[in-house]
C-alpha cells in the first residue's frame, strides 16, 4: 500500500511540546481556560497535552471530552446512524476560554458540529482550535485552526491515519495513505 510518513514519534513529541508552550504563552496560568478533546480521536491528543502542561508548568488544566454525534449534519444522509461516544464535561464553559483539540482537520464539519454541541454547556468567552494535522484546501466550512502541527496537501482519495502507541500501535506516527477502494 502507498503510505507516506508525515510525522514520526519524535516529531509528534516536539509538536505537542510546542503546542504546550504556545498555550502557556497565550493562556498564562490557565485560570480561565479549558481543553476539550473532540471525540473520538481528539481525547488522545488532549490527554497528552494535559500531561505535558503539568510536566512543564506544574498546572493541571481542566479538560473534558466532547462528542458531537447528535449535532452532525449528515444524520439520515448516511446509511446508518453513527455510534455516539462519551461526553465528559464536569464543568460549565460559561465565560471560559475553550481550546478544541482534534487530531486531523479535514472538511470542518465535525468542528462545526462540535461548536454547536459545546454551546449546550454555556457561552464561552473565546474558542480556539488546535489540530495536529491540517489538511489544506479540503474545507467545506470557513474554519481555520489557531494552532496546527503540520499542514499537508492531500487528495480526496487519501486518508490521514494517526497511530498512537497508547492505542496498541508500535509507536506514535502519522501517515498519509490511499483509501481502500471498496
Amino acid at each position: 500500500m502507498n503510505k507516506r510518513l508525515v510525522l514520526d514519534q519524535k516529531q509528534i513529541d516536539i509538536t505537542l511540546r510546542r503546542f504546550c508552550h504556545q498555550l502557556i504563552e497565550n493562556h498564562d496560568d490557565f485560570d480561565n481556560t479549558v481543553l476539550l478533546g473532540l471525540q473520538p480521536r481528539g481525547p488522545v491528543v488532549s490527554d497528552r497535552l494535559v500531561e505535558l502542561i503539568e510536566e512543564i508548568k506544574g498546572i493541571k488544566v481542566p479538560y473534558g471530552y466532547l462528542d458531537a454525534t447528535f449535532h452532525r449534519d449528515d444524520f439520515r444522509r448516511r446509511e446508518f446512524p453513527l455510534k455516539a461516544n462519551e461526553t465528559k464535561i464536569d464543568f460549565l464553559i460559561e465565560g471560559k476560554k475553550v481550546i478544541l483539540v482534534d487530531d486531523v482537520l479535514y472538511k470542518g464539519r465535525s468542528v462545526r458540529a462540535a461548536m454547536d454541541a459545546m454551546i449546550a454547556f454555556g457561552r464561552p468567552q473565546k474558542v480556539e482550535l488546535m489540530v495536529l494535522i491540517d489538511r489544506k484546501f479540503t474545507r467545506d466550512y470557513p474554519i481555520k485552526p489557531d494552532y496546527f502541527g503540520r499542514q499537508v496537501n492531500t487528495l480526496e482519495s487519501q486518508y490521514v491515519s494517526v497511530e498512537w502507541a497508547s492505542k496498541g500501535f508500535e509507536q506514535d506516527a502519522i501517515w498519509i495513505t490511499e483509501k481502500v477502494k471498496s
Partner: protein, 307 residues
C-alpha cells in the same frame, strides 16, 4: 456505526439482544445529554412524529413527547377521544390521513393486540408501539431493563419477579422477552386467576406466594391490577388482593437481603404496593421514569437514522 435490525419497534419478541444493547448504549449517551444545562440536540430536526393514542396514557405519552422534543423533532399529537375515530373512521384511514400530512414516524398506543403490526404492514412510516392491548409495550420493557442495568450493573444472571396482574399486562410480556434475551431469570407471581394458563411455556418460573417470590428475587417488578380490562371478577375484592399480594415494608424487612422495587406506574397505592415501599430507598420507580425519556430518545434516534 450503530443500527437496529428492524425499521419498526413493534415488540421485544422481534428484536435481538444486540438491538437491545445498541439501544442501551445510545440511551447512556442521551442520559448524559439530559443532564446538560441545555438538554436538547438537533438530531431529528427534519423529522415529524405523530403520537397517536387510542388509549389513555400519562407517563408514556409525556415521556415520548419529551423525548421527541429533546431530539428537536416536530410533534403532532392525536388522541382518539377528540377525533373522528368517534365518528367511525377506521384505524388505517385515520393513520393514512395523518401520514398524508408528511409524517415520518408514528408512535401508537391502541387497545387491540397487534394494532402496531397491522399498521407496519400497511404504511410506510417507522412505527413505534407504545402499547397494544394486552400484547406488548416494548419501550417500557427496555427502560425497565435499562434501570436494572443501571442499578445492579448488569441484567444477566439477575433474578426478576414480575408480580401482579400478568394476564392483562403488556408490560409483563415485553419484560419477560427482554429480560430473558439479556440473560436474566424471570418469575411471575400472582393469583392463579391472573396468570395466563400456559405462561410457564415461555420459560418463566411460576409462583403463587408473594413472600416466596420476594425471597427468591433480586428485583421485584410490581404491576397494577388492570380493572379496566377485567370483564369478569378475577378475585373477591381489592382488599383481599392487597392482603395476599400487596407488598409492604414489613415484608421487605423480613427478607435476609435487599431487593429492588420497580413499578411501571400508575401505582394504586395501598393495593399492590404500600406507600412505605413505593417511596422507600428500595424503590427505583422515579429512576424508571427518568430513564424512560433517554431510552425513548435512543429508540427514536436509531429508527429515524436508518434510511
Amino acid at each position: 456505526m450503530s443500527q437496529l435490525s428492524t425499521r419498526h419497534l413493534l415488540g421485544i419478541k422481534d428484536i435481538t439482544e444486540q438491538d437491545i444493547n445498541t439501544v442501551f448504549e445510545t440511551a447512556d449517551n442521551f442520559k448524559e445529554v439530559l443532564n446538560r444545562p441545555i438538554k436538547k440536540v438537533p438530531s431529528l430536526r427534519d423529522i415529524t412524529i405523530a403520537n397517536i393514542f387510542f388509549e389513555n396514557s400519562t407517563r408514556t405519552k409525556l415521556s415520548f413527547e419529551l423525548a421527541e422534543k429533546r431530539l428537536s423533532a416536530d410533534v403532532v399529537n392525536f388522541s382518539s377521544s377528540t377525533s373522528s375515530v368517534k365518528k367511525g373512521e377506521t384505524l388505517i384511514d385515520t393513520v393514512n390521513n395523518i401520514l398524508s400530512m408528511k409524517v415520518d414516524m408514528v408512535v401508537m398506543r391502541h387497545s387491540s393486540p397487534g394494532a402496531a403490526h397491522f399498521l407496519s404492514r400497511n404504511i410506510k412510516a417507522n412505527i413505534v408501539n407504545a402499547g397494544d392491548g394486552t400484547h406488548e409495550h416494548p419501550t417500557q420493557a427496555l427502560l425497565d431493563a435499562f434501570s436494572i442495568r443501571e442499578k445492579l450493573g448488569d441484567v444477566a444472571g439477575k433474578k426478576v419477579a414480575i408480580i401482579g396482574d400478568i394476564l392483562h399486562s403488556r408490560v409483563a410480556l415485553s419484560n419477560i422477552f427482554c429480560l430473558q434475551k439479556l440473560g436474566a431469570e424471570v418469575m411471575v407471581c400472582g393469583p392463579v386467576t391472573l396468570l395466563p394458563k400456559h405462561i410457564a411455556s415461555l420459560g418463566v418460573k411460576v409462583e403463587y406466594d408473594v413472600k416466596k417470590a420476594l425471597q427468591w428475587c433480586d428485583v421485584a417488578n410490581v404491576l397494577r391490577i388492570q380493572l379496566e380490562r377485567q370483564q369478569i371478577k378475577y378475585f373477591p375484592s381489592l382488599r383481599e388482593y392487597s392482603l395476599y399480594f400487596g407488598i409492604n415494608r414489613k415484608m421487605l424487612e423480613q427478607l435476609d437481603k435487599e431487593i429492588v422495587i420497580m413499578h411501571p406506574g400508575p401505582i394504586n397505592r395501598g393495593v399492590e404496593l404500600n406507600s412505605d415501599v413505593a417511596d422507600s430507598e428500595h424503590s427505583i420507580i422515579l429512576h424508571q421514569v427518568e430513564n424512560g425519556v433517554a431510552v425513548r430518545m435512543a429508540v427514536l434516534y436509531l429508527l429515524a437514522g436508518v434510511r
